[in-house]
């Protein structure tokens, strides 16, 4: 073995000497044979000729010997590499087009893959993430799914569970009114995003603090001293990374609170970004179904077993309640058909965004295939032009394997250059992708080019290289002595055979381009349909919105709060250019509105729960500010709000559901039997869940009905100046003139929420359209290449036809016909493929079927026009052929 390795290096290092020895050996063999023949009486030249024949070609024998020498493989490879570089440099145009095409395909695929990797594939950044589950409830009886838990559920599950190793409760708030805390006492007053957790949450996630300690059960007890943990980012920005911060006191919502720990930099919680502080949840002081839970399963426990365990425990949670309450709640459990909703934590985080991403990855992958087909086509032209060279190489002793290897090396070199450039494109494209991504895309911060992505890019590059490379040798390595040399003389037109591979490639390109164009066409139609739906409010770009959060102790004085909110409103209305303003529990489409059961006096259902309705708590002029029309009756007045009159306003669809005619709803009683409210107005429907969903039936209560919203109201201001910095700073001044240092959060125009509701559609739309555009361009280039090349090959034939009297129009038809035939086959294939594939899009579509005939027709027309144009250019050139020149040419 050692000697073999030695000879490997000897052969490699002393390549010249080894070659020389081989040359000498064969020369001497020729001489020996010649002498032998001369002894038989032949003349010297004849003897030498016979000797060479017997030897069978000096170069062939050399090649055979080289092939068995160790190290020869590398040598061959190096030779091919040098040759490839020479060939590629000789035709910079071809090389540039091929490399750019590949770089685009590989770059786009890699960028998209890194998004999929970061969002979908990478495991959660916690130890043994597979055992983490999100625990929620389903209430199919009132059509509510993935409901949060109440504290009693948490205590029951914690004490009684057989399948959880541990369970922790956490609180994040809802929609735009996320949980947050006002920090004062250190630097400028700040409003920081907060997370409430019970003491188990961090250990369940396997998070240990960078400094200080985590929460213990004592921190969760009511009456214990107030403690807080801060995130790494907040520690750096607020305290400059000061390690002595542990034990210091800051004012949180007006209460002195001790910092007990700093979280590590790697800490992430679900999709939350810029989290600042973690607070003990103190579940004994909380109530209501407002809290989510995360649990770690015992080893070996399945999701189904854990679900069954939770189902068993749910009824046990009423045990702490008074007796009459118990039967009432158990009854409600039965009617709502309450049950567990357990999901793997990762799936809970990602949601259904995977559908969007895989669709886009598929689209981008198709572009890569088209790019490969294009490069293969270019290479075919290239190699066809080099047939003579290949024939000579074969005649001089190049074995088919050796020639095929050389061509494969050429393809791989192209692919590698394209891949390297593609990786650069991916780096750039990724930034654009992240900027474009819908804000509900989880784990956006984790997206980047890591080892797996690099490996993927390498894999894609190699597969691409082999894919288009393998098409060549199959056809051209087979060229044996004679055939290739003979064919290149003054020849007849190229045979059908020679065009088959190129035609097939063009058909594939046109077909795939059609699939992509149909997909983007369907997304465009979806977008149109969505835009067409009136969201229920008008001119959302002219409505500025923001939230404020008063400190919790102020919420205990609702009379004072409503006066402050009113004062802020007055001060805002005094700003020039403000036409209307209001405050409410949530802004339409900001995902902050609640749902709850609402009863109707003249439609009481015995033994059945009333359906849940969307609920808003609003101030007067909410409808005027949002531009929601009042269909019947009247708006709320300050008299209703300040004097807590029992009134309500309902949406038109709710009114029609019960009374058919909106005006018949006026005067009816709704709410709950203990405190009916009279309907005084009916307003237009609002698509609070986005225009792609039904507008929910909605009830609007006076905001004084719910003290909690008076403490964290969302303000909305209609003004042509909305969205400008100057306007916002005037608003800030107006707020601070009433409540100094009250921080503003979620500052967005209504249009922001409106556009956000369509973000997934526009994300998919933009990316698929880009992919479709690229596919169209590449497909057109591919067809143009085929037709142009075939025209150049048929120049002589066309010349003869014209000399024999063919009209120019006939020639035009001849060439156009060739292009049209290919295009139509491609279109037919594409339509079949698109019909099969478009249902993958159906979950993203709105107002349009996956088989929408208009889209298919439109796309087909566009594609046919483009490919006809692509073949018209070379066809015109063919028409102008001068027979005299054509026949003399070549």
């Amino acid at each position: 073995m050692r000697s073999r390795i030695g000879s490997f290096f000897r052969n490699l290092l002393r390549k010249g000497a080894v070659e020389q020895a081989l040359d000498d050996e064969l020369k001497s063999a020729v001489e020996l044979l010649t002498q032998e023949k001369m002894k038989e009486g032949l003349s010297h030249p004849e003897a030498r000729r016979q000797a060479l024949i017997e030897l069978g070609g000096v170069e062939q024998v050399k090649e055979e010997v080289r092939a068995i020498r160790p190290g020869m493989f590398l040598e061959t490879f190096a030779q091919d590499l040098r040759y490839t570089v020479r060939i590629l440099r000789k035709s910079p145009g071809f090389t540039t087009v091929a490399v750019l095409t590949l770089a685009l395909g590989i770059g786009a695929t890699t960028a998209m893959f890194s998004v999929v990797d970061g969002v979908l594939l990478r495991p959660l950044p916690y130890p043994q993430p597979g055992r983490l589950v999100e625990v929620g409830l389903d209430l199919p009886g009132i059509n509510q799914f993935n409901w949060p838990l109440c504290p009693a559920d948490y205590f029951t599950f914690r004490e009684q569970s057989r399948t959880f190793q541990d369970i922790g409760l956490y609180y994040t708030g809802f929609g735009a009114s996320l949980y947050s805390a006002n920090v004062t006492g250190v630097g400028r007053p700040e409003h920081v995003p907060a997370l409430g957790v019970t003491d188990e949450v961090l250990p369940i996630l396997g998070v240990t603090p960078l400094l200080g300690r985590s929460f213990t059960r004592a921190d969760d007890e009511p009456g214990s001293s107030d403690t807080v943990m801060i995130t790494y980012g907040y520690w750096r920005s607020k305290f400059g990374g000061d390690r002595s911060v542990i034990g210091k006191t800051i004012d949180l919502d007006g209460k002195p609170t001790t910092i007990i720990g700093v979280l590590p930099q790697s800490f992430r919680f679900l999709g939350m970004t810029d989290l600042g502080v973690l607070l003990p949840l103190r579940p004994r002081t909380q109530r209501g179904y407002n809290y989510f839970a995360v649990a770690r399963l015992k080893p070996g426990v399945t999701l189904a077993e854990a679900s069954a365990d939770v189902a068993r425990m749910i009824p046990m949670e009423v045990q702490g309640d008074p007796a009459e309450m118990q039967s009432h709640r158990l009854n409600w459990f039965k009617e709502s058909r309450i049950g567990p909703n357990l999901q793997p934590l990762k799936q809970y985080m990602i949601g259904d965004v995977g559908k969007v991403l895989w669709v886009v990855v598929g689209g981008v992958g198709l572009v890569l295939v088209i790019a490969c087909a294009n490069v293969a086509n270019l290479l075919l032209v290239k190699v066809q032009g080099r047939q003579q060279e290949l024939a000579i190489r074969a005649a001089l002793g190049g074995s088919p394997g050796r020639i095929a290897g050389g061509l494969l090396v050429e393809s791989l070199v192209l692919a590698v250059i394209g891949g390297a450039l593609g990786l650069l494109f991916a780096y750039g494209g990724l930034q654009a992708l992240i900027a474009l991504a819908p804000s509900d895309l989880p784990r956006l911060n984790d997206i980047g080019i890591d080892r797996l992505v690099l490996l993927f890019a390498l894999g894609v590059t190699m597969v691409a290289g082999l894919l288009f490379g393998s098409m060549l040798p199959l056809r051209y390595a087979g060229v044996r002595e004679g055939t290739g040399l003979r064919e290149t003389g003054r020849s007849v037109s190229a045979s059908r055979e020679r065009h088959r591979a190129r035609n097939a490639l063009v058909v594939i390109q046109v077909g795939l381009a059609l699939v992509l164009l149909v997909s983007s066409g369907l997304m465009i139609r979806t977008f149109q349909a969505l835009i067409h739906v009136q969201p229920g409010f008008t001119a959302p770009a002219e409505v500025e919105t923001f939230h404020v959060h008063f400190p919790p102790e102020m919420i205990k004085a609702p009379e004072r709060l409503v006066r402050m909110d009113q004062a802020i409103l007055d001060s805002i209305e005094a700003i020039p250019g403000v036409s209307s303003a209001d405050f409410s529990s949530a802004v339409p489409m900001d995902a902050g509105a609640e749902s709850g059961p609402v009863q109707v006096e003249d439609h009481m259902l015995q033994g059945q729960l009333p359906p849940a309705r969307r609920l808003f708590w609003v101030s007067p002029s909410f409808f005027r500010t949002m531009g929601i029309p009042i269909v019947a009756g009247r708006d709320l007045t300050w008299d209703d709000v300040l004097n807590k009159r029992p009134v309500a306003i309902v949406s038109e669809n709710l009114a029609r559901e019960y009374w058919h005619n909106p005006s018949d709803a006026l005067g009816k009683q709704i709410g709950n039997p203990k405190a009916w409210r009279q309907i005084v107005g009916v307003v237009g429907n609002v698509y609070d869940d986005g225009t792609s969903r039904e507008a929910p039936a909605t009830v609007y209560w006076p905001i004084t009905d719910a003290d909690v919203f008076l403490g964290q109201p969302g303000f909305a201001i209609r003004s042509a100046r909305a969205g400008s910095q100057a306007f916002m700073s005037e608003i800030r001044q107006a707020v601070w003139s009433v409540a100094p240092d009250l921080p503003l959060s979620a500052v967005h125009t209504l249009d922001y929420y409106y556009r956000n509701s369509m973000a997934r559609v526009s994300f998919t739309l933009v990316l698929l359209s880009l992919a479709g555009g690229m596919a169209l361009l590449l497909g057109a280039i591919g067809l143009y290449g085929v037709i142009a090349y075939s025209v150049s090959q048929r120049t002589r034939e066309i010349g003869i036809r014209m000399a024999l009297g063919a009209q120019r129009e006939y020639i035009l038809r001849l060439i156009l016909g060739q292009g049209t035939k290919l295009a139509l086959i491609g279109v037919a294939t594409g339509i079949a493929a698109a019909l099969g594939l478009s249902h993958f899009l159906s979950s993203l579509l709105y107002g349009v079927k996956p088989t929408d005939p208009l889209t298919f027709l439109g796309v087909t027309i566009v594609l046919v026009i483009v490919v006809l144009l692509a073949s018209y250019i070379p066809a015109r050139r063919a028409m102008r052929v001068d027979p005299v020149i054509a026949l003399r040419y070549e």
Binding site: R4, D24, E25, S28, A29, E31, L32, G56, I68, R69
Partner: protein, 110 residues
């Protein structure tokens, strides 16, 4: 002529070359002639097979090459059997007679 006859059974070429070199060192052409001679003209080895085989055996250490003056005072590359080459020859001879015995028995029984 006789192209079929030179297409030796795979594996027998090595044996023939080793056998040819067993008597004395030979150059490539000499090996070819010796094989024709010992096979009574039945085998003619093409140089396209012979030279690669010789080089492969050299890589394996069965033969050693050296430049020497030939019978008519020309320089030629001579191949000499090494001790491991002799061992290989004995092994291949043993294998071959084994094959012949088995094949003969099989053919006669039929």
């Amino acid at each position: 002529m006789g192209k079929e006859r030179t297409d030796l059974l795979r594996g027998t070429l090595d044996l023939l070359i080793l056998k040819a070199l067993a008597l004395e060192p030979l150059h490539g052409v000499g090996v070819s002639r010796r094989i024709t001679q010992i096979s009574a003209g039945a085998f003619r080895v093409s140089f396209g097979s012979l030279f690669p085989a010789l080089h492969r055996m050299e890589e394996k250490g069965w033969v050693q090459a050296e430049w020497r003056a030939s019978e008519n005072n020309r320089r030629a590359k001579y191949y000499r059997l090494t001790s491991s080459g002799r061992a290989q020859l004995r092994a291949e001879e043993r294998d071959w007679s084994q094959v012949v015995k088995i094949m003969a028995a099989a053919v006669e029984s039929a």
